[in-house]
């Protein structure tokens, strides 16, 4: 296995980008990543694209070919592959790129993620996101994605005494971080009272417990160690990139307050990287809903099951805490551009490990990202190091 490094990163702004189309957004992220890596573009041997639902958001399939075309890679006949795992699509693209380089098949590849969601209305968006859970047996009864996370949240409240205020504090923290991120969608701080006064989406989850759905794209250039050393003084190594599955519908899981795919993927990632949760300095998790961040604390092994809320209550996951989580603002404040999110998380960890995260910089030599599809049927865990 080749050692694998990130040598370039790019991210479009995230948000409601009414005046920008899909092609335009993807291109801005891709060009930024290629420039950041100091490449011309022709060195790239393959492309992997994470996109959840071009078919329904844009009436456009064959997204990988479209992106290859508009990024100039079709002129060079570079193979381009779309991968899909709901909102873990970006994580899957990152992992495919990692595997392609680790295996020795390719020297330099690009992993991108992109979604354009604002060309359809919000009710359609709710329906599309519900298709990341079990459309026939959950979506059919009106169980939207927030509704399913609400079922998880209430179970966590009952079993472990987690409170709506704990969830609100996750949102408040992520907004505080996002306010420092020039590419975040919501660059403003909020208070616990703001969350608690926002309307219910699916009780007990309120509007400010839910990440927005955003337009956006992100890209990373991945190379083997030999090439990375030639091209950059600041490679960020990927020492593990693991993936696991769980039952699609909540009703088939033994315990809906545990994301078994996250537990399995992270156990394997720590083993592969020869690390423990204690060795991780900075983390990006998939806070599509605030309860998901609490679950992530537990299922990634940072705290025992049921004690997730203590990390937010004690400030441990704040920017100045022992284990900063979602320095970018997370999905809640930075924005959730569905298929782009897994790549966007890798971009943030790269900024942090290079020491280029600006006002939100933390002291870190190792990082971890967690990208989840739907209610956790797909999970991708990546560990990053600068050594």
């Amino acid at each position: 296995m080749e050692r694998v490094a990130i040598i370039g990163v790019g991210q479009s702004e995230f948000g409601e980008l009414w005046d920008r189309g899909f092609r335009d957004i993807v291109l801005s992220a891709g060009v930024e990543a290629i420039e950041d890596a100091g490449l011309e573009g022709k060195e790239i041997e393959a492309m992997y694209v994470g996109n959840m639902s071009g078919g329904r958001y844009l009436d456009q399939e064959h997204i990988a070919a479209l992106i290859a075309d508009y990024s100039g890679l079709a002129e060079l006949n570079v193979p381009s592959t779309r991968v899909e795992g709901a909102d873990a699509s970006g994580g899957l693209a990152l992992r495919q790129a990692y595997l392609a380089v680790a295996s020795g098949v390719h020297d330099i590849v690009i992993a991108a993620g992109a979604e354009k969601v604002t060309d359809v209305g919000s009710e359609m968006t709710t329906d599309i996101m519900a298709s990341s859970a079990d459309r026939e047996w959950e979506g059919f009864v009106g169980a939207t994605l927030p509704a399913l996370y609400a079922l998880i949240a209430r179970m966590h409240f009952i079993r472990y005494d987690t409170t709506p205020e704990d969830l609100a504090m996750v949102s408040v923290k992520n907004h505080r971080n996002g306010a420092l991120n020039p590419k975040a969608q919501f660059r403003r701080e909020i208070k616990v009272e703001d969350v608690m006064r926002s309307p219910f989406v699916a009780d007990p989850l309120r509007l400010l417990d839910c990440a927005p759905l955003s337009d956006g794209a992100a890209a990373v250039i991945i190379a083997n160690e030999r090439v990375a050393r030639q091209l950059t003084d600041s490679p960020v190594y990927i020492t593990a990139c693991t993936q696991a599955s769980d039952y699609l519908a909540l009703q088939n899981r033994k315990d809906i307050t545990t994301m078994e795919a996250v537990r399995k993927a992270s156990e394997l990632a720590y083993k592969t990287a020869k690390m423990t949760p204690r060795d991780i300095d900075v983390v990006e998790v998939h806070d599509s809903f605030t309860i998901a961040e609490i679950l992530a604390y537990e299922d990634l092994g940072f705290v025992e099951k049921g004690k997730g809320a203590t990390l937010i209550r004690e400030g441990i996951t704040e920017l100045d805490g022992e284990l900063p989580v979602n320095t970018s603002g997370g999905l809640k404040s930075c924005g959730h551009a569905v298929g782009a999110t897994g790549i966007r998380q890798a971009v943030e960890i790269t900024y942090q490990l290079r020491g280029k995260a600006g006002k939100r910089q933390v002291d870190a030599e190792t990082g971890l990202s967690l990208n989840i599809g739907g209610t956790g049927a797909t999970a991708v865990v990546t560990i990053f190091e600068v050594r």
């Binding site: 709710t126 009106g142 209430r154 007990p204 009703q251």
Partner: protein, 128 residues
């Protein structure tokens, strides 16, 4: 939606799922393969009866188009007395639903495809 719906009418109108005779695992919705035994699965159909207990619930305020006239509505995870969990709607005042509430199966309309379209029926639950 129609063909994939009517194929499963038997399982939607009644709570019919699967049991693996090799290991005793029970599944709703039905499966053709037991994920525990896989190749050694011995699947048979089983009716999980009509009663259960709410183990978690939510009141949905933001819904796709076809549910908008029902808002706010209750979606619950229900432990069936004779079987596994099922995700379904509970038809009651949203203020009344609580964890531990006893519920019983009821045949109800779910939604329709526009004004002149197909009407989809299925199982919901009502307080016992």
């Amino acid at each position: 939606m129609l063909p994939r719906f009517w194929r499963k009418i038997k399982y939607r109108y009644d709570i019919v799922g699967s049991e693996c005779e090799s290991c005793g695992s029970k599944f709703y919705p039905p499966r053709n393969l037991c994920p525990v035994c896989r190749r050694r699965s011995r699947i048979k159909e089983i009716d999980f009866g009509e009663r259960g207990t709410v183990v978690s619930y939510t009141v949905v305020y933001d819904s796709p188009d076809e549910f908008k006239l029902q808002k706010p509505y209750v979606v619950a995870l229900i432990k069936l007395d004779d079987g596994p969990l099922i995700t379904s709607q509970v038809v009651c005042d949203p203020d009344r639903v609580e964890v531990g509430m006893r519920v019983v199966k009821a045949f109800r309309k779910y939604f329709e495809e526009g004004d002149a379209g197909i009407i989809y029926y299925g199982t919901k639950f009502v307080p016992e």
